[in-house]
């Protein structure tokens, strides 16, 4: 009996890559700014829709994938920076705790989400095209053939996505800006004492993270579709990937993305073929992975809480 086929494996790879791309900026921004940014999914949606709308309205210019990606990057970056300047920075100046920042990010999320809804509904009326389920109108000039996959939206996003991840690593570990980011994440006060302006580091971090989140949204829209809800419906998977990385390690976050994608696709396919598990149980698999990770390896690191551990009661022997 064939439990998995090649299609599922390729799907897993692609989805894992996108999950990682979505999760990395979340991890980085948490590390550097100590904000667990629930508005992250809105940034992803912004990116997807900027690419979709621009490629539909100005096809001459924005049907080129690269141009559209750059536009989406800047849109996401600007939204993230504005969010930082108007919400998080102001709260940080009042020395708000991380929990307050997290709650504020919920406010931003819900605001941005329905702002996006409003913009989409207006644009839909103006260009007389339903945008609630939309795909960017890209023309792929290069015909990349890769592992026998010839679907250009798939190959493009795979290659670009992998290069983006590599680029992120380079920026984070090799450039002086990356060092400054890591310094601020380690100890913001000492970073200031060493002559690093934490505000400019945070702004640049939001620039990068917002842009990266937006680009991951475009990739999703290329191969699947964009809807105002798609990013929110991935929140379980993306946050689970971050939790696997302890919201502190980029490499582990990437691993987390693939683990979650594997649980959802490969494991699901095996269980479906073996015991006929209904496909509606798919999200349970990701959640189960999340719970197992939290139970087996309680994340201590950056976001960890108290040093509770699962207690295994040992019998006391009195002799």
């Amino acid at each position: 009996m064939n439990l998995i086929d090649l299609g599922v494996v390729i799907n897993t790879l692609w989805i894992g890559l996108i999950y990682s791309l979505m999760a990395i900026p979340l991890t980085i921004s948490y590390k550097v700014t100590r904000v667990l940014n629930f508005a992250h999914t809105s940034l992803v949606t912004v990116g997807a829709y900027v690419a979709v709308i621009l490629s539909l309205v100005y096809p001459d210019f924005f049907s080129n994938v690269f141009v559209a990606l750059i536009a989406a990057f800047f849109a996401g970056a600007i939204v993230a920076i504005l969010n930082h300047k108007f919400v998080y920075r102001k709260l940080m100046d009042k020395e708000a705790s991380p929990v307050i920042l997290m709650i504020a990010s919920l406010g931003s999320w819900i605001f941005l989400k329905y702002l996006i809804y409003s913009v989409i509904s207006i644009v839909s009326k103006v260009i007389k095209k339903d945008l609630y389920f939309a795909v960017p109108a890209f023309r792929y000039t290069l015909n990349l053939n890769f592992l026998g996959i010839s679907n250009p939206s798939l190959t493009y996003s795979l290659i670009l996505g992998i290069s983006l991840i590599v680029l992120t690593f380079v920026v984070f570990y090799r450039t002086s800006f990356g060092k400054a980011m890591r310094a601020v994440s380690d100890n913001p006060q000492l970073a200031q004492i060493s002559g690093i302006s934490d505000e400019s580091v945070m702004t640049l971090t939001w620039f990068l993270c917002g842009g990266l989140a937006a680009i991951s949204g475009v990739f999703w829209a290329m191969f699947s579709y964009a809807s105002p809800e798609f990013a929110d419906s991935l929140i379980l998977q993306v946050f689970a990937a971050c939790v696997i990385g302890g919201i502190s390690s980029i490499a582990l976050t990437i691993l987390g993305g693939f683990v979650i994608a594997g649980a959802e696709n490969i494991l699901m396919s095996i269980l479906y073929n073996l015991i006929g598990l209904d496909l509606s149980f798919r999200p349970f698999l990701s959640f189960l992975t999340l719970l197992i990770v939290i139970l087996v390896r309680p994340p201590a690191g950056a976001a960890g809480g108290l040093p509770y551990r699962l207690k295994f009661k040992r019998e006391r022997k009195w002799t």
């Binding site: 667990l36 009326k125 929140i235 209904d278 509606s280 959640f287 719970l291 960890g304």
Partner: protein, 369 residues
Amino acid sequence: MDVVGFLVSWITLFSIYSILSISLNLEAGYTGISNFGKAAFYGIGAFFAAVISLSAFLMLNGLSYPLYSLETIISMGTLSKQNPILSILIFLFTVVLAFFVSGIAGYMVSYPTLRVGPAFLGITVLSFGELLRIFLRNFQPTGGTYGLAGIPHPFAFIQDPAVKDFMFMLVTLVILAIMYIFSEKFVNSPYGRIMKSIREDEIASLCLGKDVPKIKAQVLFIGSGMAGVAGALLAYYMGSINPDIFVPSLTFEVWAMVILGGLANNKGALLGAGIITFLNRASVILNFTFQNLPIDVNYIRWMIVGLLIVASLLFKPEGLIPEDPKSSFIWNFVEEKEPISLKKRMEETSKKVKFYIKKVFDWFAMGGG
């Protein structure tokens, strides 16, 4: 416009949401648990009540339609009117059971996550809500995306819909009153002081020998149970429910109520619920009156909710009704001061009012400048 109808629907919604905001206040305001999954436990209560009451009616009448089917909806229309006592009994039974079912779910979900930081707890509980919602969307026996309909109203035997709604409003108000009194008593009990001590300093409470994860899980049991009751009430009130009611945004609406009203203050939770549900009802009416707006009024309402959360954190973090310092943790160690008598308080208030009136008069006297 039907003012009475508006008021009745607003007060019903207000009661349901107040139960939610009081329960969140217990968790977030008093104990410091960042529960971002309120919608999940609300939804569990709603679906539980819907499934149980529908199946009970079908079973008692020997019918074997699937829960989500046209036949069920049609037959419920007549069945629910036949036996008033049975309808009300099933209603009460499911509301009480919804408390335990949601509560147990809250306890079970929270237990593994309480030992990690607030960020992880938030993520996990939020994810749990999304998980349930996506699962229910794909789960055909409860109607998939359509959800369940034809939930038998406890007062279906009353002919006049206005009276029916009014009766239901009274019931929700009574339940709200019970919840309110319960939580007021609860937070002012010794147990409530432990909750506050956990909020103030978790490690210190741990060192004092309190089993912090267990207490948090117990609070989540109660909070989730209350949310379950609210969910059950919603199911009966709406008559039909679907998974997409229980989106994360709903959780944040409740958060907005609590933050706006003032964390760790049950009166604040009520006030917040009043304001946000008023926005909710008003947007329904506006949407109905202006049919051709380029954007849905609901979008604007949600944006206002988001803005309210951010703005109150920025400008009034203690909320409209701040936590009473006397009931606060630290104050319990300070000697009880003599309570201000009602007469004195009224005198002070009237002095204030006179002062403002005088100010307004002065303003006019100056020629409005």
